[in-house]
């Protein structure tokens, strides 16, 4: 057990900080071209897909350094390292684990270079939590499959070029987990229709997608036919792990403390109110627990064991903290807390009020809290399935 960073790890942290000092201007000074330049620079540094193998364009970086990189980027409120969050967090790793050589060559570089944005087509209108029961159909026809069916809640569908798509190729199975097959499909393929859905925060970030006789070449199948569930389970662990990452909450906690210091309650400084102090301390404690849980799981990964059900632990923490922190901030801010971006009294430009409407991203996305509890109880504690 040793929580000290090695000299190499420390100098890597310094390198990231120096880079940020030189290349991350304050928000108001960033122009139109900023993001493009930023993406090129972080790519040139080898920080996109940092821990991915060199042969696929990664840097063979260590997992600890990767954690340092994410932490520093997040605390500095830097933009993401690539435009395809899903590409980097689970589609890319999925392709590297299950894809053919051709698929790796074809898809990985574009994810790293932010040329292609990916979305994830799992959920269907009748199958959300019960994901393995999906019905979207794919039928082999010579050198291609024909896909028919519907997906929904697909985040990023309105602007993505590719989708990782979960289908059923076999309807005569005893276990619903069999007969599922995964595909990599271009969103501009004939027969793909995207209808954006507005969420309660006012954004059209997700969509429903209709597939009508969409032809998908056999070489776009990810993993073997009928083996799609395996691909999905490891992708979902990666998704939950990315949701359970602590870095964004650490940055959010910093902002919350600043807000507390600048707020008053009934005419007195909020930072003197015992309830306020204890509430914020409890957030800090839980965030700290996530951090050290994450480091324990990272140590496991470094020893070569893949991430599995334990990712649900931090996913649950993130889900409750995300709601509680935004709600606490708007409660603390009283009526001003209600104002959205642009409001004369809006607090932190409406970040908290918007957040209070956006929590389903991390609470429902990636599987609901009830499902995470089922996973922990069944797969870690060995309770019978319900």
């Amino acid at each position: 057990m040793d929580f000290d960073y090695t000299p190499q790890e420390q100098s890597f942290r310094q390198e990231v900080r120096d880079f940020l000092a030189d290349n991350l201007p304050p928000k108001e000074k960033r122009d139109k071209n900023f993001l493009g330049t930023w993406l090129e620079k972080v790519r040139a540094k080898g920080w996109v897909g940092f821990a991915w193998p060199k042969e696929f364009g990664g840097s063979d970086g260590g997992l600890i350094e990767q954690a340092i990189l994410k932490e520093e980027m997040s605390l500095a409120k830097a933009p993401p390292l690539g435009t395809s969050m899903m590409g980097l967090a689970w589609v890319g790793p999925g392709i590297m684990e299950y894809g053919t050589e051709e698929q790796k060559k074809k898809f990985i570089p574009d994810i790293l270079d932010s040329k292609v944005t990916w979305c994830t087509g799992y959920s269907e209108p009748n199958h959300g939590s019960d994901l393995a029961a999906i019905q979207c159909k794919a039928e082999l026809n010579g050198d291609h499959y024909v896909v028919n069916g519907q997906k929904i809640w697909t985040t990023g569908a309105p602007w993505s070029q590719w989708i990782i798509l979960l289908t059923r190729t076999d309807f005569n199975v005893t276990s619903k987990h069999d007969g599922i097959t995964c595909f990599l499909v271009p969103m501009d393929a004939p027969g793909v229709e995207v209808r954006p859905i507005q969420n309660m925060a006012g954004d059209k970030h997700f969509a429903e997608i209709f597939f009508t006789d969409v032809q998908v070449p056999v070489e776009n199948r990810l993993g073997a036919e009928g083996e799609g569930w395996k691909v999905t389970v490891s992708a979902l662990a990666n998704e939950r792990s990315s949701i359970g990452e602590v870095t964004q909450l650490q940055a959010k906690l910093d902002d919350l403390k600043t807000l507390v210091k600048n707020s008053s309650r009934q005419g007195k400084p909020a930072s003197e109110d015992p309830k306020v102090r204890r509430t914020v301390a409890r957030f800090e404690m839980k965030i700290s627990a996530m951090k050290y849980n994450g480091l324990r799981y990272l140590t496991k990964q470094i020893k070569g064991e893949p991430l599995t059900s334990e990712t649900s632990v931090n996913k649950l923490h993130r889900a409750s903290l995300e709601i509680e922190m935004d709600d606490f901030a708007i409660e603390l801010s009283g009526q001003a807390g209600l104002q959205l971006k642009g409001g004369e009294e809006a607090v932190d430009n409406g970040t908290w009020s918007k957040g209070a409407l956006n929590w389903p991203n991390v609470v429902i996305g990636g599987g609901t809290p009830n499902i995470q509890r089922n996973i922990i109880a069944e797969r870690i504690l060995g309770q019978p399935k319900d």
């Binding site: 057990m1 040793d2 929580f3 000290d4 960073y5 090695t6 790890e9 600890i64 403390k257 507390v260 210091k261 930072s271 015992p274 306020v276 102090r277 204890r278 914020v280 301390a281 409890r282 800090e284 404690m285 839980k286 700290s288 627990a289 996530m290 050290y292 849980n293 480091l295 324990r296 990272l298 140590t299 496991k300 470094i302 020893k303 334990e310 632990v313 649950l316 923490h317 009830n370 995470q372 509890r373 089922n374 922990i376 109880a377 069944e378 870690i380 504690l381 060995g382 309770q383 019978p384 399935k385 319900d386």
Partner: protein
């Protein structure tokens, strides 16, 4: 950066677990806890021979010269079986001596502690629920050739079994620890919820001690020893929490109601999952806090408050749910779940409850 135990630490853990299973199963724990002086000399001697009583004592003084993280490994594993030996008190008394005593005292006291010959405990605060130098109300006044003690130490862990004790007092020149032998004081065991953690009051009124037996204790040293106490307690909460979770999870797989194992009902399995999430979380915080004792003292206070602050409320709930999920059987004296619930009650206020620790996190975190 490596958040894993070494091979040696894993072996140490297994060794303690084996000891608990073979030499000190819960049937034996119950017997010991029911005795008037709940102490088992033979078990204590075995623990000493295995090196567990001198883990953090330097090799020069007969110990193993290891760290608090190793101490945590032993306390956690022993607490899985609610080990009634005063190992935590012995470790804290060692820390107090290493922190406050002269070289000569260390050389004369520590070897007897590592060998188990001397059982020693540490008594800090006299106010029931206040972690502060002012919460030490017993005093020492100067007399020729030494000091006279006044007052009573109402809450001293493991005092009845101890041969020696280090008791905090307000001395003529500030805080101090009075080093006492049991024949100098009057120890009165107190009935408490958790008989595996015996507590006593120690009357020191009018006791005269020599000059060298009053060890100066700075407020920083007091805070350090309190934090060590919180680490020891939290390590035991990890072990005891894991044990009652395992017991409850096992029962949920076997108990059939409405034709199904109760673990199939989400009212049951989701509580088990929540217990796991909390246990996992204060476990991570506890290991980090234990590491800071020796390797990052600047972070100790905050790390300890995170760990003990989390564990205090979480383990209390785990104790309640552990008993409750069993149904009526959990309420029976014969069933072991209740022993863990009692430990959760004992641990909650020790070395600061969650409110105390949350206040400290807020302050240390810049609020």
């Amino acid at each position: 950066m490596n958040f894993g135990f070494t091979e040696e630490q894993n072996l140490l853990k297994e060794q303690v677990q084996r000891f608990m299973k073979e030499a000190c199963p819960l049937t034996r724990v119950r017997e010991i806890a029911n005795e008037s002086t709940p102490f088992d000399q033979a078990l204590w001697q075995q623990a000493a021979e295995l090196g567990w009583l001198g883990l953090t004592i330097p090799e020069a003084h007969g110990g193993l010269g290891l760290k608090w993280i190793d101490q945590t490994v032993v306390l956690e594993a022993a607490a899985e079986g609610l080990c009634p030996l005063p190992m935590a008190s012995q470790a804290l008394a060692s820390a107090a001596i290493l922190t406050c005593a002269s070289e000569q005292q260390k050389a004369s006291w520590l070897p007897a502690m590592a060998s188990g010959e001397a059982v020693v405990t540490l008594g800090l605060y006299d106010e029931a629920n206040w972690i502060d130098p002012k919460a030490i109300t017993a005093t020492a006044t100067a007399r020729t050739g030494g000091y006279t003690l006044h007052g009573k130490k109402p809450f001293v862990n493991d005092a009845a079994a101890a041969h020696y004790m280090l008791l905090a007092v307000q001395g003529p020149n500030g805080l101090a620890l009075a080093a006492l032998g049991k024949e100098q004081v009057t120890v009165t065991p107190q009935p408490t919820i958790d008989t595996t953690k015996p507590m006593a009051s120690v009357d020191i009124d009018g006791v005269e001690i020599g000059e060298e037996d009053l060890l100066p204790l700075s407020p920083e040293q007091l805070a350090f020893l309190t934090d060590c106490g919180a680490v020891a307690t939290t390590a035991e909460m990890v072990g005891a929490g894991a044990a009652i979770l395992e017991m409850t999870s096992g029962y949920a797989k076997e108990r059939i109601q409405f034709g199904k194992p109760i673990g199939q009902y989400q009212g049951v399995k989701h509580r088990l999952a929540d217990m796991f999430v909390d246990l996992e979380s204060y476990r991570s915080l506890c290991y980090f806090a234990a590491w800071t004792v020796d390797d990052d003292p600047a972070e100790l206070a905050k790390a300890v408050s995170m760990a003990k602050g989390y564990a205090s409320d979480a383990f209390a709930q785990i104790g309640i749910d552990g008993v409750g999920l069993h149904g009526a059987i959990g309420f029976t004296a014969d069933y072991d779940a209740q022993l863990y619930l009692k430990r959760s009650k004992w641990a909650r206020p020790m070395y600061g409850d969650s409110d105390y620790h949350m206040d400290r996190i807020a302050t240390l975190g810049g609020l």
